[in-house]
């Protein structure tokens, strides 16, 4: 079974919407309910952030969310429990956004085993370039009983150029294209430069491509429509989540779907 692959195939032509939530923000009890409802509203893939103290790729909104989640007591173990509960409700893919020190501390083998058994379909590790990914990738590719595909999601940036081919080699899931240089939560200009970058990735990729960083509303999505297979929205969702569940779900329906 490969939930990510099936999701992109089923959506053929229509974009796959990947929505991000920091697990455990503001409280441990909130994430399962919110995540389940977001998926029920029509979002296709849930990306859950495992809170980390020093998130180098994140801007202020996600940094503060991580601090609140850590203060609420959210550990990787809690996140696996959340995934298990959401998995009871849905077969849609769930991926974790997790910094590498969290995985190393948990133990690579243990982290992979716990993720799989909870029902996680992929990992996005923003501080793990291809030069260091083999120990984790190899562990993730070991056959499991359910034969469920477990993908290490490759990230590529506008500076990747000649690295793209090697980054994508032997990878599964989807390609996470970072739309601009910098941290999450900034303002992206989906201009010709970004579109050429996406075309460049498309040319090298055997996987569906998704773009993230800076997508905030319907207008951004329209500009990217047809250029990519999926769009990842993080900071904009987390900002709305702060205003309340109803505001968030309405935002997803009106701006993102």
């Amino acid at each position: 079974m490969d939930r990510i692959k099936e999701t992109f195939q089923a959506q053929s032509g229509k974009k796959v919407l990947i929505g991000y939530l920091t697990a455990g923000d503001p409280f441990i009890g909130d994430t399962v309910r919110l995540g389940t409802k977001m998926l029920a509203t029509g979002m296709d893939i849930l990306e859950l952030g495992v809170p980390y103290s020093d998130p180098l790729a994140d801007g202020p909104v996600l940094q503060q969310a991580a601090i609140r989640a850590i203060q609420s007591g959210t550990t990787p173990g809690c996140v696996f429990n959340m995934v298990r509960k959401i998995r009871n409700e849905t077969e849609k893919p769930i991926v974790l956004l997790v910094y590498y020190n969290t995985i190393l501390t948990y133990g690579i083998e243990e982290f992979v085993r716990a993720s799989r058994s909870a029902g996680v379909d992929g990992l996005v590790v923003p501080d793990l370039p291809m030069e260091h990914r083999e120990p984790l990738r190899i562990e993730m590719k070991r056959k499991n009983e359910q034969e469920t595909e477990f993908s290490l999601i490759p990230l590529v940036s506008k500076q990747s150029h000649c690295r793209i081919r090697e980054i994508l080699k032997d990878m599964t899931g989807f390609v996470y294209c970072v739309s601009y240089s910098g941290v999450t939560g900034g303002k992206a200009h989906f201009d010709q430069e970004v579109l050429s970058f996406l075309e460049e990735v498309r040319g090298e990729s055997h996987l569906p491509i998704a773009v993230g960083f800076g997508i905030r509303n319907h207008e951004d999505m329209l500009r990217l429509q047809g250029k990519v297979d999926g769009m990842i929205v993080g900071t904009a969702i987390m900002e709305k989540a702060k205003e309340g569940e109803d505001v968030l779900l309405r935002f997803i329906e009106s701006e993102l779907l």
């Binding site: 980390y52 103290s53 020093d54 180098l56 790729a57 801007g59 202020p60 940094q63 850590i70 550990t75 990787p76 910094y99 590498y100 020190n101 969290t102 190393l104 501390t105 948990y106 923003p126 501080d127 793990l128 370039p129 030069e131 260091h132 990230l155 590529v156 940036s157 506008k158 500076q159 990747s160 150029h161 690295r163 980054i167 970072v178 601009y180 240089s181 910098g182 941290v183 900034g186």
Partner: protein, 385 residues
């Protein structure tokens, strides 16, 4: 400048977002080319001599040697460098490299402000725009250095996230770098961060060890029996250890013991940390059970860091060097001893090395010799002691 393969064992590496990878790969190449370019080396040597005032003296500190009654103590006077610390050695090297690579803007993080001042100085000298990231707490406790940076034309950004000290200043610097790496050179101040920074900064600081070795041999006709330096990220220690790694010389690093190792208020990453990832490198890190980085503490802003350069993690693991924690009180005491007996006011960072050095020298025979690295001068710390 020496380069050994797998220099740091399992430590080091480049654990950074993909968007910075091409930048560090390009830097690695540029550094390696510059290392082999005689012109670059001559230019750097000239700047170190005529601008910074190298070689710095190696001084036989007779009064404190008599006071401890053990090994003869020599001080390597990096405090006499232009800008008041060893930090300028690395800055001159990196900014010459940045210029060579065509950068017109430079950025840096700073703890005590010594690296910030050195970078702002280099930026003024080479007509580069300069942005310095500094934790809010450090901005408050190192006011004089902030004033110096501003006078030198740098923009000082006060970082309010997290513990508001060096770790958070560095996080914010890396975030800024990831957005501006195309036109801004990141001048890291210690032997930390992703490759090639740890080995590059060590190479630029290795002039300390090289000089020390020559000077000591000239004065004593032998090698010192022990070398002592303080370790936050550990650039001054890396610079002096570099020359003695293959010799029969005992190497000691003084970590920030803060309020004591029985408390959580210290910066002793080697003594109390575990291997982990911090700011692009694998090294010894103060962290909680799930891998979140713990705040470090020290009276000295320059040692207030939850990690350490991968070289030191490696030297500790292979037992080539020993790292001991020195508390705030011990450092303050050493600060007074050196000031009163030798007429030298050390930086609080360097006072940690003095404290450890005096302790070890006591246990050594009178025929033995020790070099303590005095990494910086203490004017900036007068309000703290």
């Amino acid at each position: 400048m020496n380069h050994r393969k797998n220099y740091f064992g399992e430590y080091g590496g480049t654990f950074i977002p993909e968007s910075l990878m091409s930048t560090v790969i390009e830097l690695k190449k540029a550094f390696s080319e510059a290392s082999q370019d005689g012109n670059f080396q001559r230019q750097l040597k000239m700047m170190l001599e005529h601008y910074s005032g190298r070689p710095t003296p190696l001084y036989f500190a007779e009064n404190i040697s008599n006071y401890v009654g053990g090994a003869k103590i020599y001080l390597k006077r990096e405090d006499l460098n232009h800008t008041g610390s060893h930090k300028i050695n690395n800055v001159l090297g990196q900014l010459l490299l940045a210029k060579r690579m065509g950068y017109k803007k430079v950025m840096a993080e700073t703890g005590a402000g010594q690296h910030g001042v050195a970078t702002a100085t280099g930026a003024a000298l080479f007509s580069m725009e300069c942005v310095i990231f500094m934790g809010k707490k450090d901005v408050e406790r190192q006011k004089m250095n902030v004033r110096r940076m501003v006078l030198l034309g740098a923009q000082v950004i006060s970082v309010e996230a997290g513990s508001q000290t060096l770790k958070d200043a560095t996080n914010e610097a890396i975030r800024h770098w990831s957005a501006h790496s195309e036109d801004t050179y990141y001048c890291i101040g210690s032997v930390v961060g992703p490759e090639p920074y740890p080995e590059m900064v060590q190479a630029f600081q290795s002039v300390i060890g090289k000089e020390t070795k020559e000077q000591y041999q000239k004065m004593c006709g032998a090698l010192p029996d022990a070398v002592v330096a303080c370790v936050g990220g550990g650039s001054n220690a890396a610079g002096i250890f570099d020359a003695f790694l293959d010799d029969k010389v005992a190497l000691y690093g003084a970590e920030a013991g803060g309020m004591g190792m029985h408390t959580s208020f210290h910066g002793a990453a080697i003594n109390q940390g575990r291997p982990g990832i911090l700011q692009g490198m694998k090294t010894m890190v103060l962290q909680d059970q799930v891998g979140n980085i713990l705040p470090a503490y020290s009276i000295s802003a320059g040692l207030d860091y939850p990690g350490v350069g991968p070289l030191h993690a490696f030297l500790a693991e292979t037992k080539r060097a020993s790292y001991m924690a020195v508390t705030d009180d011990e450092a303050k005491n050493a600060f007074r001893i050196l000031t009163e007996m030798e007429g030298i006011i050390p930086a609080l960072e360097s006072a940690h090395a003095i404290a450890l050095g005096l302790d070890i020298a006591k246990t050594m025979g009178k025929h033995l010799g020790m070099v303590i690295l005095l990494s910086g001068r203490g004017d900036k710390d007068l309000e703290r002691v």
